[in-house]
């Protein structure tokens, strides 16, 4: 299965962008047909929310302080599922090798995969959040700040996760390895995202939330840059 970048081959920049979009679109199109990834992630996420409800038996007040944490733990675990499956599908169908043959900088593959992984994670979040809202009716839920945090956090998570899953899928231990590799590295995202989410949900003044937002942005920038520089080393043959 060979990849044809959609853009014309005359200008390198659009060639690169075209390649990225081609990879992303391939994943999204395949997923919309089979929906195996999304259904797995969704069912898992909803189950986690359910389990939390029964294991954490909280009254209304206690639940408020815990909402951000519960949601982010859910997204982290569902995200791992998505990352694993996404890469595994790639490897099993031999797409990875095909992509590597394409005459374009390899980091385009990384960005393409990362974007599709991000899309999947966002889709799951977009569905889980209203469900959570209906079940528990938390305050200040639909604030742009809160959604912004969800976006920034997901970006950071997926940036590192895509890179690591590319490595993990090439090892013997595969699926089991990804969370072990990912979680220690992604702690700044989880800490900042939970704190910032909490801040928005409990209506804290924006000044107190800004440090966390800064940290999220810094993390995202640093790790996207790092992944870009290092991806070649991870797919050498």
């Amino acid at each position: 299965m060979s990849e044809n970048p959609k853009a014309p081959t005359s200008r390198p920049a659009s060639n690169y962008f075209g390649a990225v979009m081609a990879v992303t679109w391939k994943d999204l199109a395949a997923e919309f047909r089979s929906r195996e990834l999304l259904s797995a992630m969704l069912i898992f996420a909803l189950l986690v929310i359910l389990v939390f409800n029964f294991s954490l038996e909280l009254d209304r007040e206690a639940r408020e302080s815990v909402t951000a944490g519960v949601l982010w733990v859910t997204f982290a675990f569902a995200g791992t599922l998505g990352l694993n499956r996404s890469m595994a599908i790639e490897k099993d169908r031999g797409c990875l090798d095909g992509l590597l043959l394409a005459p374009v900088d390899r980091s385009a593959i990384y960005f393409g995969k990362a974007l599709s992984n991000l899309a999947f994670m966002l889709i799951v979040e977009v569905i889980v959040l209203p469900v959570y809202f209906i079940l528990y009716n938390p305050k200040n839920f639909f604030s742009p700040g809160f959604f912004g945090v969800i976006l920034l956090g997901s970006i950071g998570y997926v940036a590192v996760g895509t890179l690591l899953s590319t490595m993990a899928v090439q090892t013997r231990t595969r699926d089991v390895l990804l969370p072990i590799l990912l979680f220690p590295l992604v702690i700044p995202v989880l800490v900042s995202a939970v704190q910032a989410s909490k801040g928005f949900l409990s209506g804290l003044p924006i000044g107190e939330i800004v440090p966390w937002l800064n940290l999220l942005v810094v993390y995202d920038v640093i790790f996207i840059a790092a992944a870009f520089m290092v991806f070649d080393f991870v797919v050498e043959e």
């Binding site: 590192v160 890179l163 690591l164 490595m167 993990a168 090439q170 090892t171 013997r172 231990t173 595969r174 390895l177 072990i180 590799l181 979680f183 220690p184 590295l185 992604v186 702690i187 700044p188 800490v191 900042s192 440090p211 966390w212 940290l215 810094v218 993390y219 640093i222 790790f223 790092a226 290092v230 080393f233 991870v234 050498e236």
Partner: protein
């Protein structure tokens, strides 16, 4: 071929002496601290082992980058040795920190920046070793290991900063009067001397252990080569 070079033998002796001296300095030479009592003495080894752990951490990350650049497997061996030794020393540092905390703050564990970051670092190390275990090809193993130490090298300091934005109850040892310094203590000159001596001693000890660990790697390589030759 497997006898120790003379410099290493000398280092062995020196390291043992320095270690003995550190025991003595921390247990006898350093004065008893009035507020915390005897348990304060573990502080010296706590700081010294944490220091060695830091050296290992930095060395592993730098060696990782150098491997990706030079592609010489020697750098990979350096990374592995550094991670392994750092893993052990940070473990000691964490446990000593915990033992120190217990009688002072009444709790075995506090979620404060340094302690938490050290624990996360240990998990990064274990993940690194597990990652390597899952890859058979030595070149790929080295590459993946280097990438992971690089990512870990960036992530751990960022983790530290992010947790530090929480309030901390870790003592600010060298005399601060703020509320954060609740667990702090004023260091008498003899204490300062002991601390610096321990740091110096453990640095030498680190070099010695690191050399031994590298020799172990070299031997393991020779065995691998022999295996390949014999299998033909």
């Amino acid at each position: 071929m497997s006898t120790q070079p003379r410099a290493l033998v000398a280092l062995n002796v020196v390291s043992l002496l320095l270690l003995a001296a550190s025991y003595y300095a921390s247990l006898v030479y350093a004065p008893l601290e009035a507020v915390m009592g005897a348990v304060q003495r573990v502080f010296y080894f706590h700081v010294a082992t944490a220091w060695v752990g830091m050296i290992g951490f930095v060395l592993a990350a730098v060696a990782g980058i150098l491997y990706l650049w030079k592609k010489d497997l020697k750098w990979d061996e350096i990374s592995v040795a550094a991670v392994e030794i750092s893993l052990v020393f940070f473990f000691i540092a964490i446990v000593l920190g915990s033992i120190w905390a217990r009688p002072i703050w009444g709790t075995w564990w506090t979620w404060e920046p340094r302690l938490t970051t050290a624990a996360i670092l240990e998990m990064v190390y274990l993940a690194y070793l597990l990652l390597r275990q899952g890859v058979e090809d030595p070149e790929k193993r080295a590459r993946f290991g280097a990438v992971y130490t690089l990512l870990g090298g960036i992530s751990v300091p960022v983790t530290f900063v992010s947790i530090r934005i929480f309030r901390t109850i870790h003592p600010v040892v060298i005399g601060s009067g703020s509320a954060e310094a609740q667990g702090g203590f004023n260091m008498a000159p003899a204490m300062l001397q002991t601390m610096f001596f321990a740091i110096f001693a453990f640095s030498i000890i680190f070099v010695t252990i690191f050399w031994h660990r590298m020799r172990l790697s070299a031997l393991a390589n020779r065995v691998e080569q022999l295996k390949l030759k014999v299998m033909e």
